[in-house]
């Protein structure tokens, strides 16, 4: 038989009922596309995914929030520019900035929404080559101490899909220097900068490390057979699962 793992097998989920108790909210805007994927990622990591609707005015009792990719309200103006004013966003912003430091992960359009919401600095503009790009992207984890990266190690390289049109991260030099100095560059593109992002930055965090945003899609790399492939043949299709196990560990572990 083949040594290549079969796809579609139920990914081994640690029998940890304490993880299942952790509730991760997944926000859906009308144009959100990857909400089902984010919810699946939470489930595969052992947690419980809770659907949140953009028009809701309460966050409920979720322990963390994921703002998935998509086109929120169509993004005809500027990606995320309108979404930041959604009723639910103000609750998320408050909770992220509160004493309790609600863990928030923004993926792709979610990252754009987080910068528009000023939870994270900088902004995203059109890719330097002006085209949509979908590829399996290598990232280096630069900070394995955030709420969403504790299950990785500093310097670890992972492969997750990247797919966007407006993925070029920009900020002024002072902001970039500050991000570097404070260890808030969480992910960097390795080997190939797919969009012209300043200093190869793929993802960043806020000062407290509870809010993380990145352009690539870890939720598309959580299940054997449905994630990225590497050219050397080694299976890399679940490299993104660590995001979701990280936050569960953090929540259940009672870390701040």
């Amino acid at each position: 038989m083949t040594s290549i793992p079969l796809i579609g097998e139920a990914v081994a989920i640690a029998a940890e009922p304490r993880l299942a108790g952790a509730k991760i909210g997944v926000v859906t805007f009308p144009g959100t596309l990857d909400d089902r994927d984010a919810a699946r990622a939470v489930r595969l990591a052992g947690g419980t995914a809770v659907s949140l609707w953009h028009a809701d005015s309460e966050l409920g009792d979720v322990d963390a929030v994921i703002i998935p990719g998509g086109f929120s309200y169509g993004d005809y103006l500027r990606a995320g520019a309108i979404s930041r004013f959604a009723p639910l966003m103000s609750k998320i912003i408050d909770a992220a900035n509160s004493e309790a430091k609600l863990p928030v992960l923004g993926i792709c359009n979610g990252f754009q929404i987080l910068t528009e919401s000023h939870l994270l600095p900088g902004s995203m503009i059109k890719n330097d080559h002006l085209k949509f790009i979908c590829r399996d992207q290598t990232l280096r984890v630069e900070n394995a101490n955030t709420a969403w990266t504790v299950d990785y190690t500093d310097g670890q390289e992972i492969i997750v899909p990247l797919k966007n049109q407006d993925g070029q991260y920009i900020a002024d030099e002072k902001t970039l220097d500050a991000l570097e100095a404070e260890g808030r560059v969480v992910f960097r593109y390795v080997g190939f900068n797919p969009n012209g992002s300043r200093r190869d930055i793929a993802g960043i965090s806020n000062a407290a490390g509870n809010v993380v945003g990145l352009m690539p899609h870890p939720e598309h790399a959580v299940e054997t057979g449905f994630g990225p492939e590497s050219l050397d043949g080694a299976p890399r299709d679940t490299d993104g699962l660590g995001f979701f196990t990280s936050v569960l560990t953090k929540i259940v572990g009672g870390d701040k």
């Binding site: 144009g31 993004d75 949509f132 979908c134 797919k163």
Partner: protein
């Protein structure tokens, strides 16, 4: 912009029409022929009103009525056995056919053309092509799960090709990526015959539970008719503008875009909104608005139902308040749906609309009169039997005859031709030929295109381009899924249309089986020139005959599709291009077979035998030759090969499989090696001796019913036994070589994978940036 809120039209009511039988109508400008106009008058017993004329003209157009092809298309419904029908839940004629997948799941898929809009305005043309086909799928009650795009452009180095290519690819991406549907494959062909007539076809596939199947019909007297989604605007009106004479005021914009403008966000919301309606069983019948807009939706819904329908046209929400009744009826504004809702469900329906912030307006209701009546401020402007609009259009037996030039084209075989001079034979020449082939416009990597599409969204994509077929998981619990491939070869079909169409089917069938799926159903998009040209009509008739015969022999039914005619520049038609999509089923997508090998030391087998078949091949195309006869069709062999590949996948006997088609064995070996960057050592001497061909022919012939597979050592005996038991030719031609980083073929100078990759992947970026 006018701020006038009330508009006055000189409305041509039914009453008025009856009183003014001699009024001149612009039927010719609307594309109707004298006999067709006379028929309308006969059906109505009076002259049509302007609005009725608008409806008939567009519904009786070639695009909507299939009047030239209908007589031939019947074969798809006739050449069907009981066995072929057993999994068909909904056949041809609905928005899309539905096939039973088992476990209570059903799948629906369809392929359509959006050729001419994509030439005029590539971005919007291609974008709305995706939008339209996706709405067809939703109309069946299904959740769309993937799209594919077979594309054919003019010569790669023609200046206009870049315009069309950039626009179409960006449009497909820009629209499709916003819908949350993975793009899992397609085709890309460059040929100067498509210069003024690119082919932009779009396929969508959706899944549903059996109980969720919805049909487009309006039944139940008193049920309400609602239009929802985007507002109706002046885009995509086409011929209707000649009816502008019915307007009094001159404040309206004089030029209207003939190509529709897409709003993917509106479509995405519409998808979610429809799925929620289905979930709550809130609609009795549903129909998308595509070609011919409200004309088509009202007449088809009413025609398919058991009664009639009454609709007030001033209730339609407008983007442009100056639109005339005729324009409103014919507008092809995108992202709209029409549904029939029982009075009890109105409230729940409105709640779903409000949740998704989708606009809607109640237009009227279902009646029991058998008439479709459309009013404007209460005055009747349309009063017709909907069947006469939607289904009883004209049908033509267009004359057709085998072209005079066909014999001389078929006699002009490649071997020995001027273009064949200096055929490669030395090791260095053969290596150069392989490299040239895989870098050529039609054989090069399509990554430049597919990297602009989201293949991941949804998390169910088990395989996508460049593998032989796209594979999507349907059921997360069981791994049940579907595989899809589309294929066509315009050159083969030009040389011999009957066979050419069968070859397209054979290749799509083979691609699906290669990935381990059991082929189940077919959808076709028949792209041809003008049916008024007897040569073209013959090509069309032969292609349909060939395709329907082959479907019967392979045991898979056609469940839907589309015909696109008049694809020509002046009097020069495109190559006849029947694009065939085959859908297959995988009980567990975990068993799907990718096209590249990975494991060092695995045995590489070639299944099938090789004949000297270079006519119509990619190699002859590279040398500028087109003549002779295409490769022989052997459907029994295709079936046998398919069974071997499916069994091998199910029983874990192969780790990689790649079909041989355009570019022959040379292309397959390079593609399988580049897939994961793992090379191979190949020796073809035994094959050459067995089949009586030279090395060049072994590499470049396009003989059908062949595939290469890589077999784990532990499975080799079992695999060989299976092939032997089935009497299918199989030959070990080499081994996978993971360490070498090269493709070694005895008699061919060594090919490094890096160099091959550079050649293969460099072509599109070089031309398109």
């Amino acid at each position: 912009m006018t701020t006038e809120t009330t508009k006055k039209f000189n409305i041509d009511t039914v009453e008025h029409a009856a009183k003014t039988p001699d009024t001149e109508l612009p039927w010719a400008e609307l594309g109707l022929k004298q006999n067709e106009f006379d028929e309308i008058v006969k059906v109505l017993g009076r002259r049509p009103t302007g609005a009725e004329l608008a409806m008939y003209s567009v519904m009786w157009s070639e695009h909507c009525s299939y009047k030239s092809s209908k007589n031939h298309l019947r074969q798809f419904g006739e050449k069907v056995t009981e066995e072929m029908k057993k999994d068909m839940l909904v056949g041809i004629g609905e928005n899309a056919g539905v096939t039973n997948l088992g476990d209570g799941w059903a799948v629906t898929f369809k392929i359509e053309s959006h050729n001419s809009p994509s030439f005029v305005e590539p971005y919007q043309g291609a974008a709305t092509g995706i939008g339209g086909i996706v709405r067809d799928i939703i109309s069946m009650g299904a959740r769309p799960v993937a799209v594919m795009d077979p594309l054919r452009f003019g010569a790669i180095d023609h200046p206009d090709t870049a315009r069309v290519m950039h626009g179409a690819v960006a449009g497909i991406g820009g629209y499709g990526n916003c819908l949350g549907l993975p793009n899992i494959g397609g085709e890309m062909v460059f040929d100067s015959v498509y210069q003024g007539n690119p082919l932009v076809n779009a396929l969508a596939v959706g899944v549903m539970r059996h109980e969720d199947i919805r049909l487009a019909n309006a039944s139940g007297k008193g049920n309400k008719v609602v239009l929802f989604g985007a507002r109706t605007g002046g885009d995509g009106i086409g011929g209707a503008s000649v009816l502008a004479s019915e307007s009094f005021d001159d404040t309206k914009p004089s030029k209207r875009p003939a190509v529709q403008v897409g709003d993917p966000f509106a479509e995405k919301v519409l998808i979610e909104c429809c799925l929620e309606l289905f979930k709550g069983s809130l609609v009795e019948g549903i129909q998308d608005l595509g070609a011919a807009g409200i004309s088509c939706a009202t007449s088809e819904l009413a025609s398919n139902g058991d009664g009639g329908m009454e609709v007030e046209l001033t209730s339609v929400l407008l983007r442009d308040p100056t639109l005339t009744p005729g324009e409103i009826l014919m507008s092809e504004s995108q992202e709209r749906m029409m549904a029939v809702v029982t009075p009890e469900n109105i409230e729940a329906f409105e709640a779903v609309m409000d949740k998704w912030a989708v606009e809607y307006s109640w237009l009227g209701e279902v009646t029991d009169t058998g008439r479709l009546i459309i009013t404007w401020e209460g005055e009747v402007i349309v009063d017709v039997d909907p069947r006469t609009v939607a289904h009883d259009g004209p049908v033509y037996d267009r004359p057709f005859a085998r072209p005079e030039w066909q014999d001389s084209v078929q006699a002009n075989t490649f071997t020995g031709s001027v273009e064949d001079a200096g055929r490669p034979s030395a090791p260095s020449e053969l290596a150069a030929a392989v490299t040239e082939l895989v870098a050529s416009p039609n054989m090069c990597s399509k990554a430049w295109i597919t990297n602009q599409y989201d293949r991941y969204v949804g998390g169910n994509t088990a395989m996508a381009f460049p593998d032989d077929s796209g594979v999507v998981r349907v059921d997360e619990e069981t791994g049940l899924g579907v595989a899809l491939a589309t294929d066509a070869n315009g050159r083969y079909t030009y040389l011999e249309p009957y066979q050419g169409a069968q070859l397209a089917l054979a290749e799509a069938y083979r691609n699906v089986a290669t990935s381990g799926a059991v082929p189940m159903a077919v959808s076709d998009c028949l792209n041809f020139g003008s049916p008024e040209d007897p040569d073209v009509m013959w090509q069309l008739a032969e292609a349909i005959r060939g395709l329907s015969d082959a479907c019967m022999e392979l045991g898979i039914p056609v469940t839907g599709g589309n015909v696109s005619l008049y694809n020509q520049t002046g009097t020069t038609p495109i190559h006849p291009s029947p694009v065939v999509a085959v859908l297959g089923k995988l009980d567990d997508v975990a068993r799907r077979t990718p096209s590249g090998w990975r494991e060092d030391g695995q045995a590489i087998y070639l299944l099938g035998t090789t004949a000297a078949e270079l006519d119509g091949s990619e190699w002859s195309n590279l040398r500028g030759h087109l003549g002779g006869l295409p490769p022989k069709v052997d459907l029994a062999a295709e079936r046998a090969l398919g069974e071997i590949l499916i069994n091998a996948s199910r029983d874990g006997m192969v780790d990689a499989a790649h079909d041989l088609s355009e570019g022959g064995l040379a292309a397959a070996l390079v593609e399988s090696s580049l897939r994961y960057g793992v090379g191979a050592r190949i020796a073809l001497e035994e094959l050459m001796e067995r089949d009586g061909v030279d090395l060049f022919t072994a590499l470049f012939s396009e003989t059908q019913a062949r595939a290469v597979v890589s077999v784990p050592r532990s499975e080799e005996v079992r695999f060989k036994d299976m092939c032997t038991a089935r009497g299918f030719a199989h030959l070990r031609i080499g081994v996978v070589d993971a360490a070498g980083g090269k493709l070694e073929i005895n008699g061919v100078e060594e090919l490094s994978l890096d160099a091959l990759r550079e050649a293969h992947e460099g072509t599109l970026p070089k031309h398109f940036g």
